[in-house]
């Protein structure tokens, strides 16, 4: 019996070892294979492998792989020996992963950083300032909002990967069935009150049930409650430039009197009512609610279209898009991911060159081909057919230019977003809105006190 156990353990071990030897686990790996590198170049240059830390997203990886291939050809093949090893992490865990790597001084070259977090990283010197490596002409490639978002104290830390803006997409079949025609142009966008009517009309209850089979609205992507979509509610109830609209004091650390103004509270009360009083949106988020046709309207950036194409085939899902609803001021949050270079990099020149190429018009074009989200490069916005006048996604550019507002710019963005998410979830769960907002503002201000005087 003893022997049998040992035998089975040994067999297991042998099988595992054989399997790993067959797939090369125990042998050192030098990143992805590079079939296009000419032998001559291989013989003369030692291969440089850049570690790129990014969120798990297949479209992005595909994009980078193609960008890498083109990158190797530029400058007369100067960078032909560069290779990239991808380290991908789920979105939730990217931040802890970056922090652990920084705390341990682990080798890292390029890091995919969320736009609003750039100031956080820059404050802690976890990314290198890159301002002096980019000419003015190069900086002009991108939208000024992107440059501002990726900068800290006036210096560029992160060239942008792409941009974004949230609008309200809808299921045309459902709106037609309810007899609703959402406005097709941005200037005629619905107010929240008008949109509410539409949401109520498209919420369908099967007979005798209190739970809708189709919801009117999903405000936000995935099941995440983030500042990106949910901060819009608060800010929209303030006139442009007001404390409510700004959402934060000009010093970047004051929130009492900005986060918890009566207008902000009123807006979040409406948000709570959508869930609990009017019941047009589910309290417990439903996965893929729009894709599985369980919601008529969804507030999301334009990458949603790529997802619909993936699931149903190009153009097969009957989607339409209309302006994002508003209280007093219409706005959509802009900003997206950016490239950062770690101070622990041992290959600064190669990293910089790759980042430059990837964020240039040539690289961004390849990026867009795979990821299909609003580019940050101006020339692309002017040349891509879907964004040119008459194109299906032109309204997104229009929105970004007319109503786009960057998220609040502060090194304490991470802390702020965490507390705001908790406050929002509590509000959805039925807590007293005014209390939550006031307590939230206090908490955020307490947590951000350490960044005082950061500018």
């Amino acid at each position: 019996m003893w022997i049998r156990i040992w035998a089975s353990v040994t067999v297991l071990l042998v099988l595992a070892v054989l399997e790993s030897v067959a797939t090369g686990d125990l042998a050192p790996v030098a990143g992805s294979p590079s079939p296009t590198v000419p032998l001559r170049a291989q013989a003369t240059k030692p291969p440089v492998v850049l570690k790129l830390l990014a969120i798990t997203d297949d479209a992005q990886i595909q994009a980078w792989k193609e960008i890498l291939q083109e990158f190797r050809k530029i400058d007369g093949g100067k960078w032909s020996s560069v290779d990239i090893a991808f380290e991908t992490v789920p979105f939730q865990d990217l931040f802890p992963k970056i922090e652990s790597a920084v705390a341990a001084g682990a080798a890292m070259d390029i890091v995919q950083s969320d736009g609003p977090d750039m100031k956080h990283y820059a404050f802690y010197r976890s990314l290198l300032p890159l301002g002096k490596y980019f000419t003015d002409a190069e900086m002009k490639q991108w939208l000024p909002q992107s440059v501002e978002e990726g900068s800290f104290r006036g210096q560029l830390y992160g060239p942008p990967m792409m941009q974004s803006c949230s609008l309200m997409v809808y299921n045309r079949e459902m709106t037609d069935a309810a007899g609703i025609k959402p406005p097709a142009t941005l200037d005629k966008s619905w107010t929240m009150a008008e949109a509410l009517t539409a949401w109520q009309k498209t919420t369908a209850h099967p007979s005798g049930s209190s739970i809708p089979s189709v919801w009117g609205l999903r405000w936000g992507q995935g099941t995440w409650v983030g500042d990106y979509e949910h901060g819009i509610f608060r800010r929209s109830n303030g006139a442009k430039g007001s404390a409510t609209y700004e959402g934060m004091g000009p010093d970047g650390v004051t929130f009492v009197g900005y986060f918890d103004t009566p207008e902000a509270v009123e807006a979040m009360q409406f948000y709570q009512d959508l869930h609990r009083k009017y019941k047009v949106t589910p309290i417990e988020a439903i996965p893929q609610i729009f894709e599985t046709k369980k919601a008529a309207f969804m507030v999301t950036p334009d990458n949603r279209i790529g997802e619909l194409n993936r699931l149903y085939g190009e153009g097969k899902f009957p989607w339409g898009v209309t302006g994002i609803p508003y209280f007093k001021t219409q706005l959509c949050h802009t900003g997206s991911w950016a490239y950062g270079i770690s101070p622990n990099t041992k290959h600064f020149n190669e990293s910089l060159a790759f980042v430059k190429y990837a964020s240039s018009d040539a690289g961004a074009r390849i990026w867009y081909k795979h990821v299909r989200q609003l580019p940050a490069n101006i020339s692309l916005l002017n040349t891509l057919p879907e964004y040119r006048p008459g194109g299906k996604q032109t309204i997104w550019i229009e929105a970004m230019n007319k109503i786009g507002a960057p998220r609040i710019q502060t090194p304490g963005y991470t802390e702020y977003q965490q507390v705001f998410a908790e406050v929002t979830l509590n509000i959805m769960a039925g807590a007293n809105v005014a209390e939550q907002m006031k307590a939230g503002a206090q908490r955020i201000q307490g947590l951000l006190a350490k960044y005082k005087g950061w500018k």
């Binding site: 309290i283 417990e284 991470t414 802390e415």
Partner: protein, 307 residues
Amino acid sequence: MSSAVVAPAYPSPRGWWTRRRRSYLIAFLFVAPAVVNFLLFRYVPILAAIRSSLWQYSLLGGYGKFIGLQAYGRLLQDPVFWKSLTVTVQYVLLKVPAQIVLSLALAILLQREDRFSAAVRSAIFAPVVTSIVVISVIWSLMYHVQLGLFNSILTSAGLPRVVFLSNARVALVAIVIMMVWKEIGFSLIVLMAGLKGIPDTFHEAARIDGASSWQQFRSITLPLLRRVLMFVVVTQTIFSFQVFVPVYTMTKGGPLDSTKVIVYYIYQNGFLFQDMGYASALSMITLIVLLGVSTAQMRWLRSEVEY
């Protein structure tokens, strides 16, 4: 031959290297590799964590200035800390007794060697060896107020829907139920091993003397199971106190902080609020609390039974 070694009554020719010391050395060699592991991979990190609780420390920013016990003072006045401690204690008080009682009952009921009992035991053990992340995901879907399996069954039976995870009164209990479901198999197996260790002859003798099943349970089974029972109670308390993944996956501490257990608060501070020093201080307090609780439990449940 006694296994105890006495020191020689005259100065040994080897001087300091007495027989006793040599036997100690040999004994220590048995545990040395494990000790190296603990020192290097557990104590050094713990000491680093203690150190970081006395400084301003964040993962991205590194070490700031020395603040001594300020973090501990801050913690005592932090209402969220007290809330999280309360929530954790509530969780442990719900989960551990339920798990122990149920697994003890099941261990006795499923003692038979037939195929049916073996099948039931295997089914109960399956969640133990499944990832907590996978289980949390599956159960959070099952608990969903609209899409969940539980509510589907309830509504099909004509009962009203129950809001589980977004209900501040129910969320913690929902997590307790899931964790008891998952971990009963482990304590079941350990208790069964303990039960097998009680020779059947004891029960036979008691039965011949006319004892009822309940009397046998109280006077024979329970006392002889003490050591194993102590082990299960203490370890389950320790692990339950440190629950994290279900909260992280299913509720993120909400709703209304009703599931914000201490380790989640530690995680928030260390990784999201950029205040690892404070998180370390919270961990130290957790350590002290657990030390107190475990020692009390071990003292209460210890037995000197030799047979």
